[in-house]
């Protein structure tokens, strides 16, 4: 299968920011045709660069082209009981797929890599974006709901309106991060067509956020048809719902722990 390798290599080295980078030792995989062949395990030190859901590795930090790429979509990252300390493995579901065994320089480096790689998938990013879209919509509604008019449209068109204007300008105008706010109307309001006509100046202190719906991201889809249809903000349709529920419970645990820590910090910092 062909891949646009030149462009991929360019992406690896262009100035788009890396999500993580560092030296790792990569175990050299030998292909065994006979089960009893024994080769001494060897490792090669490589410079690894994580961008999005792609893990590139270079011979040297200064190398102009990667020697290899690991597409991370669908992988799991685990600590490894290799003979080496600080080893972890990138594995794929596919039976017979090889694992990538990587060794970090120390505990902190290993943890940082495992964390970064675990969250590197496109699906994960998409989950977070959808969650924020929902939150933005809730926050907008809360701000705009000076009158309790239940114009709560459940049709996708209203939500699409919310998502499309956000997404289109982002693509068209590279500096949308500075200008983006203004395209949404003044004072942090609701975008164009979906705006509540009685929106108040927007400078009034917003009411407290509605209680968080824990299952916001967990609504079951049931539908076998995945995909970013116009209803994309309604339910997180993920091609891999199995993966999703794993993610959901993993993050649920993580959230619980981190929430506790955060709350403790808050208590200490703010009486």
């Amino acid at each position: 299968m062909k891949l646009n390798e030149r462009s991929v290599a360019h992406y690896a080295t262009c100035d788009s920011p890396a999500d993580h980078a560092g030296f790792l030792r990569k175990r050299v995989e030998r292909h065994h045709h006979h089960a009893h062949h024994h080769h001494a395990t060897s490792y090669q030190r490589r410079w690894f660069v994580l961008k999005g859901n792609l893990l590139f590795y270079f011979e040297e930090k200064e190398s102009r082209e990667p020697v290899g790429l690991v597409v991370l979509e669908g992988c799991t990252v685990e600590l490894c009981e290799a003979a080496e300390e600080f080893a972890f493995a990138i594995r794929f579901d596919d039976a017979g797929a090889r694992a990538y065994v990587l060794v970090a320089d120390g505990q902190a480096a290993m943890e940082a890599w495992v964390k970064a790689l675990s969250r590197a998938s496109f699906d994960y990013m998409r989950l977070v974006v959808r969650e924020l879209e929902k939150q933005l919509e809730e926050a907008s509604k809360t701000l705009a709901a000076c009158h309790k008019s239940p114009r709560r449209s459940s049709s996708s068109s209203r939500k699409r309106h919310l998502s499309n204007p956000a997404l289109l300008p982002l693509q068209e105008k590279p500096d949308i991060l500075e200008n983006g706010y203004s395209t949404w109307g003044s004072g942090g309001g609701v975008p164009g067509g979906a705006a509540c006509p009685d929106r108040d100046g927007g400078h009034v202190k917003p009411p407290p956020l509605p209680p968080r719906r824990r299952s916001a991201a967990g609504s079951t889809t049931g539908s076998p048809v995945p995909g970013l249809s116009p209803a994309m903000t309604e339910s997180p349709v993920s091609p891999e719902t199995a993966c999703f529920s794993k993610l959901h419970s993993w993050y649920g645990q993580e959230i619980a722990v981190l929430r506790r820590e955060w709350q403790e910090r808050q208590k200490r910092g703010h009486p």
């Binding site: 062909k2 991929v8 596919d94 977070v128 939150q135 995945p226």
Partner: protein
């Protein structure tokens, strides 16, 4: 450059965000339009001969430009080689526009920008960082500082 082709092929078998039969032309000189099944999965566009299960190729959709060409036609090119265009002819103008929109949003970098935008907006509106509850506010990939395109 080595890559895990097996996983990429596996990705090509995943349910697509979008799939269609279109006419496709490669940037190679003398290439002609050929009927292909194109399938968008995460930030890859796979293309297949219409009767085959395995793709003949994949395009990573990062650092690319999606441009409307003539009627029903759009192209994908990459920033470092803007003249090399992969051309796609759709059945209708509507289908063409749908693909353009879908492909523009298909990059990881685009999602990252969206996330940063939403995070920023929510923070402005509510005074709170929405990522804090997930404990991911410090991650490099979600940072608010202006990123070079």
């Amino acid at each position: 450059m080595r890559y895990n082709e097996r996983e990429l092929l596996s990705l090509a078998r995943q349910p697509a965000e979008k799939a269609a039969e279109v006419l496709m032309r490669l940037p190679k000189k003398g290439s002609v339009l050929k009927k292909r099944l194109v399938k968008l999965v995460v930030n890859f566009l796979f293309y297949f001969r219409t009767d085959e299960a395995e793709p003949i190729g994949a395009l990573l959709l990062e650092q690319c430009r999606i441009i409307k060409e003539e009627e029903n036609v759009f192209s994908i090119s990459f920033v470092e080689e803007p003249e090399r265009k992969y051309c796609f002819e759709c059945d209708s103008e509507e289908q063409c526009q749908e693909w353009i929109e879908a492909l523009k949003r298909a990059s990881y970098e685009f999602m990252r920008r969206s996330l940063i935008f939403y995070r920023n907006e929510i923070q402005k509106m509510t005074g709170k960082d929405p990522l804090e509850q997930y404990g991911i506010s410090e991650e490099a990939r979600f940072q608010l500082e202006t990123r070079k395109q």
